[in-house]
Amino acid sequence: MVLAEWAVELKEVRKTYRTGPIDVPALRGVSLQIAAGEFAAVAGPSGSGKTTLLNIIGGLDRADAGEVWVAGQNLQLLSSGELAHLRLQRIGFVFQTYNLLPVLSALENAEFTLLLQGVPAHKRREKVEKLFSEVGLAGLEDRRPAELSGGQQQRVAVARAMVTEPALILADEPTANLDSATAIALLDVMEHLNRVTGTTFIFSTHDPQVMERAHRFIRLRDGQITSDETRDRQAAGVAAKGDAV
């Protein structure tokens, strides 16, 4: 029986990639529970399975074995269309390389997921402008990505992920392309949003200063969890989201 209070629960999840004749195990029996409102970091060296883990939690990839529960749903049982719907409605993504649409302005990029949800234009604008002022992007709404710094672009990406008010945000090495000061500023923004909205954040990293900011710190090596620490700051920093999973 899986308890619904977990934002994410993984049970004995396995994933193996086949590269030509060679099988490359990416996850080897990972079990994990992440509560609603957590601000969790997944760390580990390259090839440890961080990205695979986030992709499986985000429904972008399927586990070969085990159970993956997100937002109260067993992802293994969902169709591609249902997974896309789940991602759109309940999960936000922040990518290492921002992945903004270069032909859209900052505001248009941030509202894109709302557009996919069918939210009317005035509500989209209202939500994005509110979020932009929270993440320090006020006044930059009309700029194209090429006209923004890396840190600003990543804030737009965070705003895009947050704007649909998802239960869970997955960020794959969100600070990897940012300098230290910008990375810290971005973490401030993410932590602020986590605290204010209660949205669950899971991000992968191998940046020590990012790891320090996490309230929960999960270390992966060779596709297995080698350590899982919860830090004191969690109690002060996390406000559980009322309707979170």
């Binding site: 719907h85 759109l88 996919l116």
Partner: protein, 420 residues
């Protein structure tokens, strides 16, 4: 849904690589201009052939006695041996508002002799004052004059016949024929005019004379005619009007009304062939366009693999990805058609107003399927064909984008996002 923003996003995506989009657009636009050019010239050729084919001698509709056509027996006159009230019949035909003019005709075959030479000829008796309203042979007179009531024994012959026999305007000729009653008819006539139609068979074998003269020669009473030739206000209604006249006239007199496609099946076949050729050319262009547009759209999709993967990761459904790509292709097509249409307007205007001079290529007048085309090949606006070309190109763009769109919709987000 994202329908409102989709065209905007698609349009901006198109202009990410302006040079590629511009080149593809230029190719489609140029192709559209070519299609307009071909459609306009082909429509002009059809029109010229139909006009020239029907207005030289034949007319657009002919009314005969049943069974007269195609054997053209001189005995089978309208109304049989008693004939008919020709004036009343012409009035009945002209009562139809779609009819521009109607004229009576008599035909016969005979031997033309002059001095030392003779030739077999077709005799056509016409009303000199009415025939020019239906056909234009009166405007083809190269020498002398057309028939007139003042010279009932005057005839007009073709230039090739004149040179073969060795006669000129003013020469006397003898026409010998078998009359409708079986006796021999012969008389002396004077050549009043020589025409040049451009059609060898006509210029070499037709003798035009007044209706009454030929009736006399054939021993036919004035009430006996073989045919009524009709010109309409709108030639495209020929078949419909012929059917209506057939029904209407048949109430008082057994008749057979035939429209030009029935009278000149080779011309009608050519017109159909011309249309088919036009569409074959369209189709060939569409096939070429498929390759060009597909190449552009594939490039556009593959260089955005990562981005499309990201959109799918965010929750964009495959069908929305397909719609996005198809919208980009549609945008490309519409913009190209607008540009092509704008460029095509002066081309179409020139073709219609000035035509193409075929004189240099043919050395003079050319004829096709037994019809004189003329030295100048004029275009004619064929808006349905322009619309079909535009719709065809738009459909081609969408079909061309289907495969790239399908490929894009099948990207796996995790793999697509990793693409550099």
């Amino acid at each position: 849904m994202i329908s409102g923003r989709l065209p905007q996003l698609a349009w901006r995506n198109l202009w990410r690589n302006p040079r590629r989009t511009f080149i593809t657009m230029a190719a489609i636009a140029f192709g559209y201009v070519m299609l307009l050019f071909v459609a306009c010239l082909m429509a002009g050729l059809r029109w010229q052939m139909i006009q020239n084919g029907t207005c030289l001698i034949m007319s657009q509709i002919q009314v005969h006695a049943p069974g007269y056509y195609p054997s053209r027996s001189i005995k089978k006159t309208l109304g049989g041996r008693q004939g008919t009230d020709v004036s009343a019949m012409l009035a009945a035909i002209s009562a139809d508002r779609r009819v521009y003019a109607a004229t009576p005709r008599v035909y016969g075959y005979g031997l033309l002799s002059a001095a030392h030479r003779s030739a077999g000829v077709e005799l056509m008796g016409v009303a000199p004052d009415q025939e020019p309203k239906v056909t234009i042979l009166n405007s083809q007179i190269a020498k002398g004059s057309y028939l007139s009531a003042r010279m009932p024994k005057g005839v007009v012959i073709g230039d090739k016949l004149a040179s073969t026999i060795g006669i000129d305007v003013g020469s006397e000729i003898v026409l010998l024929t078998q009359a409708a009653d079986g006796s021999m008819g012969n008389d002396v006539y004077t050549v009043v005019g020589i025409f040049h139609s451009g059609l060898d068979a006509v210029d070499r074998g037709l003798v035009l004379m007044s209706l009454s003269s030929l009736q006399d020669l054939l021993h036919l009473a004035p009430a006996r005619i073989h045919e009524v030739g009709i010109k309409l206000n709108d030639i495209t209604a020929a078949t419909t009007v012929a059917a209506a006249l057939d029904l209407q006239l048949d109430k008082t007199l057994p008749v057979q009304a035939m429209a030009w496609p029935e009278l000149a099946p080779e011309l009608a076949n050519y017109v159909e062939f011309n249309r088919a050729i036009t569409f074959v050319l369209f189709f060939i262009f569409f096939l070429l366009a498929v390759l060009g547009i597909m190449n552009t759209m594939l490039m556009a999709v593959f260089e955005r693999t990562r981005e499309l993967g990201m959109l799918m990761a965010l929750g964009m459904r495959p069908v929305q990805v397909i719609v996005l790509i198809l919208t980009e292709a549609a945008g490309l097509a519409v913009a190209s058609l607008v540009v092509g249409g704008a460029l095509g307007v002066p081309v179409l205007w020139y073709l219609q107003e000035h035509g193409l001079d075929l004189g240099g290529a043919s050395g003079g007048v050319i004829s096709l399927a037994g019809v004189v085309v003329g030295r100048l090949w004029y275009g004619r606006q064929d808006f349905p064909a322009y619309g079909e070309a535009a719709l065809g190109l738009a459909a081609t763009a969408l079909v061309s984008a289907l495969y790239p769109a399908w490929r894009a919709a099948h990207f796996r987000p995790t793999e697509a996002i990793r693409k550099v």
